[in-house]
Amino acid sequence: MTTPLAIENLSMRFGAVTVLPDVSFEVAPGECFGLVGESGSGKSTILLCVSMLLSGWEGRIAIGGRAVRDMSLMERCRSLQMVFQDPYGSLHPRQSVRAALSEPVRIHRLGDVDARLEQVMTDVGLPVSFLDRYPHQLSGGQRQRVAIARALILEPSILLLDEPTSALDVSVQAEILNLLQRLRAEKGFTCLMVSHDLAVVDYMCDRFAVMQHGEITEILPRSAILPNAATHPYARQLIDASIAYENAM
């Protein structure tokens, strides 16, 4: 099986500031790969580069062996989707759920709009009657479910998640994470997920990369978290701090 997502020597700069000097990693089929690290270490930037929302990067990013730069816009959109951090900002305030979800179906001329909308609403655990609601009539968790539905309606093979639960309340976080786990098992997509929270990474991710100043210091399996098997000092420090915090709670 080809590697679903491979990033080789990715570098990105904003003007004179180099945000990502040289990043390389691969994500295995069906895996959920985490990105953790301090604020400003370039985690979101990696997702923006992969999704081509930022296009000024250098290096090579390949999805299923095909370079994203060579893919047509339509092909890229159907192989890769993203869920944003803030469900309050990622849904158009004047579009009903129906409008937001039918847009991708229309753009890609998939047909069967109503059946697809009903299917995807059921998939993310929302009643079909919510299709006629507007974002301000939904709770934060419900909005994030709509955002996930919008990402999944094109049946992508890669889902990019930028702190999908950090804007939500703890109990709602768990629901969304459970939903993502269930959908991943059902649909078999591969995840690249940014998170601040090692507990979330522990729950969701098979492997994760610890980032500092735009560089990947270490790539660790999930099992390395509790015994703190990290070798790089920064990664050790991050995991220690997180475990201490969990214990203090």
Binding site: S51, G89, H92, P93, I107, M121, H136, L179
Partner: protein
Amino acid sequence: MTMIPTETGHAPARPRLPRALVPLANILGFLWRSPTSAFGLIVLGLLIAMALLGPVLAPYDPYAQDLQATLQAPSAAHWFGTDELGRDILSRLLFGAAITLRIIFLVTIVVGPIGMAVGTVAGYFGGRVDTVLMRVTDIFLSFPSLILSLAFVAALGPSLNNAIIAISLTAWPPIARLARAETLTFRKADYISAARLQGASPARIIWKSIVPMCLPSVVIRLTLNMATVILTAAGLGFLGLGAQPPMPEWGAMIATGRRYMIDSWWLVTFPGIAILLVSLAFNLLGDGLRDALDPKQMNRR
């Protein structure tokens, strides 16, 4: 995880038209509840009624001269008096309403789309497109609108239609500026990124995501601008560059009436009040719309 039975999804779809009219009804209801914007609504309603029913309601032919009865003061026969050619001023005012409405309507459908298109395209693409479009806008903005309209009408020849074209040419730049400023505030928003990730073309993003966000403030601005448009049209009519005699345009009526103003106050007073009321009504409506056009208001049901 509990699954919601799919049967609920097969409920018959609600009819489309009423759903589209819900926001409109909400806005009107909201405007009606505040006294000032209700006044604006009433005057606008009266203007439309006058324009539609003017020919039926008018007691006299607005063009019929009666040289036996020139400059008559308001009386039972001529409620608002007669002008220097003996024409009934009330009838002329009623027929003038249609002209004013036509100016408002044509200017709106020209200025709104042009301003919106220029502003959203400049704001969304940014960079060189933005620079070019905004410099063009600046050139138009740098002339006082009445002077620019004067120049256009002088070049095109005085007539009502040319006045409308001239006013439109000078009225779109502020709308474009506004639409651009609005676009800039949310072009980096996540929902625009999400639309791009879904493969939407720039045209589609501008039309489906950006225009709905700019629409309320553009509508408010257009409504507030209508006061200026009416005054400019009246000003052009007054200077003899807009509607041509014997058309009963309100500004032109004031222009011809001013020679007799000292002795016959009614010649300028009634058209003046009409212009004042209509432009005031648009100002108040614009203010009311500012409160009414808030997404939570619009979609409430």
